[in-house]
Amino acid sequence: MSADNGYYVPHQSIWPIVGSIGLFVTMIGLANMLTGAWNASVLLVGATILLIMIFGWFGAVIKESESGLYSQQVDRSFRWGMGWFIFSEIMFFAAFFGALFYARQFALPWMAGDAGRLVTHEFLWPTFEYVWPSSGPAELGGEFQPMGWWALPTINTLILITSSITLTFSHEAMRHNQRQKHINWLALTIVLGLIFLGLQMYEYVYAYTELNLRLETGIYGSTFYMLTGFHGLHVAIGAIILAVILGRSLRGHFTAERHFGFEAAVWYWHFVDVVWLFLFICIYVL
């Protein structure tokens, strides 16, 4: 059952076009929701189509993989693909980190009259003094308290770091063909991820109700929620991927030598973890 001499080229596939239609319906639904024209139903239809596509597409890939159609070379294509996909995600986060950096290093100090930027300061915001966190000279969103870094965020950081370690154990177990151990560590990783998400949700509720820290709390609220929000979304996606992998492992997929599906999930999880470390330092600590 080895196809190591050829490159598997699937003949035809309906899933990409299903995916395009799903994306289209989702986007149309979302746009019409934003303009206030529609409720969420079309968006949900689109998301459902996308889910069906993902199941169908990955199902086909998994079937092909398990029936031994993939050579080493196909495996390498998946590796290149996943690696560069993660790089694109890093650049997506970079845009928001860039916004945070720019606001703190340039926009706000300049508005406060730093570096000879007197005109804006004098004519528009003569009383503005720069302190971080800031909701800007107009103090949009009203009085607020910043999110501290101690307690919850630190616990969350420890949880995510631990989850990366447990996942590494799971990976090691897989390499040594210890399936039960692999499954246990993997399950623990997912649980840690879910706890992280739960605490993150708790933190948001706390921020809204106790601190009056909102999305509309000027640039601080914007960057805080945008960065942690997109990160949380990625943790959720990562947890779902790991859950799928867990399901596959339970069914006996993967071998000690060949388990790229699992490895891709591991890469993704570590990536999400590293983004959090940056986030923790830039958003919470500094």
Partner: protein
């Protein structure tokens, strides 16, 4: 499974089958040649749609005063024209060329990730349906210019989220396309096709793909922030909340400048294939071409500020961006030198692909020179947002990127269709294009230096003559592209039988397979001989 049945479908093995029948062939295909064709045809369609918008712009500007369209619609036209040409015409055309040629050039059976390849393409028709539909929405389409600067862009009507999400779709498509290119080039080369033996078109695409993956997500981030600023009350670009509209410009141009190189590096690759063929000499300075491409790509990340000289950056930033930008002229100059040196004392002939390539070298260089003028920060205070900028970027994009696409189509069309195009008609197309393009864009330099601002539907009387000339050139150029459409259709349907090598001086793997290239090429990796490696 036996080793040879690697293109099975649903378990039942059959190999060396041709394309499927009917519409399903195009919707479900995983074949790089089919997908390449789809990309190219889509790009041609968008080229004509975007071109019509340009003609509306030029018709309005034929005379001072407002005669044909109202100013708001005029602004929608400039915005849509640019978005469609950049994301719908030029980029997909190069992806189409990549799809057709990369696997054949490196000796691969197909692209590395064939299903994702299909998805990359089929997102585009939906994305552009969404974008174009905004023209019919309350408040009209986007009218902010393709650069989407806030706060202006936030005044777009109901079209706003549609524009943003359409851009997201285009980004997803580009990123997947680029990932596929990288995986194909790194993983699918035939044994013996070492990196330094790859044809330059492959090299330039590899580097372009890297640029795409690095900057398309940044654009996605930028437009996402626009979306949340408008609908969720964030303050990224709102000074009252501590943000800054200039922040958007930084993020946008961090994407935007590499983006212009995304549109020109594959063009460099194309002419680096064509000029050696018709000069019957190997490419001069192959290694320096590769390194120059990489240097340009690297520098393109640290020059974005040259689009923002007038927004009030600190002096040190002005100087840094000015010198960094000028530095790009060095590797660019290396390339131009190498093309000229390749032609030097070559046994040259002037078939249409070569004509377009030579025009490319000359006219792109003019665009590079005006770029250098714009790169001088103190001078740019005068030129910025005038027609001089319009002239600059159209010189690099039309007789630059678009000419190279035309050259590529004429060069490889016999390989794709098995038929020769009509040489006489194509020369007419070439000459009309060169004349049209120069009559169209050269006077815009004068207009800009004299102070005519860009993106205006009306202008002061002293600008009339050159605007008229420019508009006449626009119609010559625009209408002569219909001839191109005719030539392509004619070649597909009839035309003399093409030989396998097609061009006497052509080297490379793509010329070793029959014309038209069979549906599946290189099921077994070919042996690479030195003659088939680059020039």
């Amino acid at each position: 499974m036996a080793a040879t049945t690697h293109d099975v479908h649903d378990g039942h093995g059959e190999h060396h089958h041709g394309p499927a029948k009917g519409l399903g062939r195009w919707l479900f295909t995983t074949n790089h040649k089919d997908i390449g064709t789809l990309y190219l045809l889509f790009s041609l369609l968008m080229f004509l749609v975007g071109g019509s918008m340009a003609l509306i712009i030029r018709a309005e500007l034929f005379q001072p005063g407002l005669q044909l369209v109202d100013p708001h619609f005029f602004n929608q036209m400039t915005t849509m024209h640019a978005l469609i040409m950049v994301f719908g015409a030029v980029m997909p055309a190069f992806v189409g060329l990549a799809n057709w040629m990369l696997p054949m050039m490196v000796g691969a059976p197909d692209m590395a990730l064939p299903r994702m390849n299909n998805w990359s393409f089929w997102i585009l028709p939906f994305a552009f349906t969404m974008l174009l539909s905004t023209l019919f929405m309350p408040g009209g389409g986007p009218a902010s210019g393709w650069t989407l600067y806030p706060p202006l862009v936030l005044q777009t009507g109901d079209a706003f989220p549609f524009v943003i999400l359409a851009i997201h779709l285009m980004g997803i498509s580009s990123i997947m396309g680029a990932i596929n290119v990288i995986a194909t080039i790194f993983n699918m080369r035939a044994p013996g096709m070492t990196l330094m033996r790859m044809p330059l078109f492959v090299w330039t695409w590899l580097i372009t793909a890297f640029l795409l993956i690095a900057v398309m997500p940044v654009l996605a981030g930028a437009v996402t922030m626009l979306l949340t600023d408008r609908y969720f009350a964030t303050s990224f670009f709102n000074a009252a909340g501590g943000g800054d509209p200039v922040l958007f410009q930084h993020i946008f141009w961090f994407f935007g400048h590499p983006e212009v190189y995304i549109m020109i590096l594959p063009a460099f690759g194309v002419v680096s294939q064509i000029i050696p063929t018709f000069s019957r000499k190997p490419l001069f300075g192959y290694h320096s071409m590769v390194y120059a491409t990489a240097a340009i790509a690297f520098l393109s990340f640290i020059v974005w500020g040259h689009h923002m000289f007038t927004v009030g950056m600190p002096l040190t930033a002005e100087l840094f961006f000015m010198y960094a930008t000028m530095l790009i002229a060095v590797p660019t100059g290396v390339k131009v030198f190498n093309w000229v040196a390749t032609m030097w004392r070559g046994a040259m002939t002037f078939e249409t692909p070569m004509l377009f390539s030579i025009a490319f070298v000359i006219l792109f260089t003019i665009g590079g020179f005006s770029g250098l003028m714009l790169a001088i920060a103190p001078a740019d205070f005068q030129y910025h947002d005038t027609y001089f900028v319009v002239a600059h970027f159209h010189y690099v994009l039309v007789p630059g990127a678009v000419f190279s696409i035309m050259a590529a189509v004429y060069y490889w069309l016999p390989k794709w269709t098995g038929h020769m195009y009509n040489e006489r008609l194509s020369r007419i197309h070439f000459w009309l294009s060169v004349i049209g393009v120069n009559v169209l864009f050269f006077p815009q330099h004068f207009l800009g230096l004299a102070g005519m601002p860009r993106r205006v539907p009306d202008y002061a009387l002293q600008f009339t003559e050159w605007n008229m000339v420019s508009s006449i050139g626009a119609f010559i150029y625009g209408i002569s592209q219909l001839l191109f459409v005719y030539i392509v259709i004619q070649t597909i349907r009839a035309g003399d039988k093409a030989t396998d090598r097609v061009w006497e001086g052509a080297h490379g793997l793509e010329w070793t397979v029959p014309s038209p290239a069979p549906y599946h090429t290189f099921d077994k990796p070919p042996k690479i001989s030195t003659a088939d490696a680059h020039g």
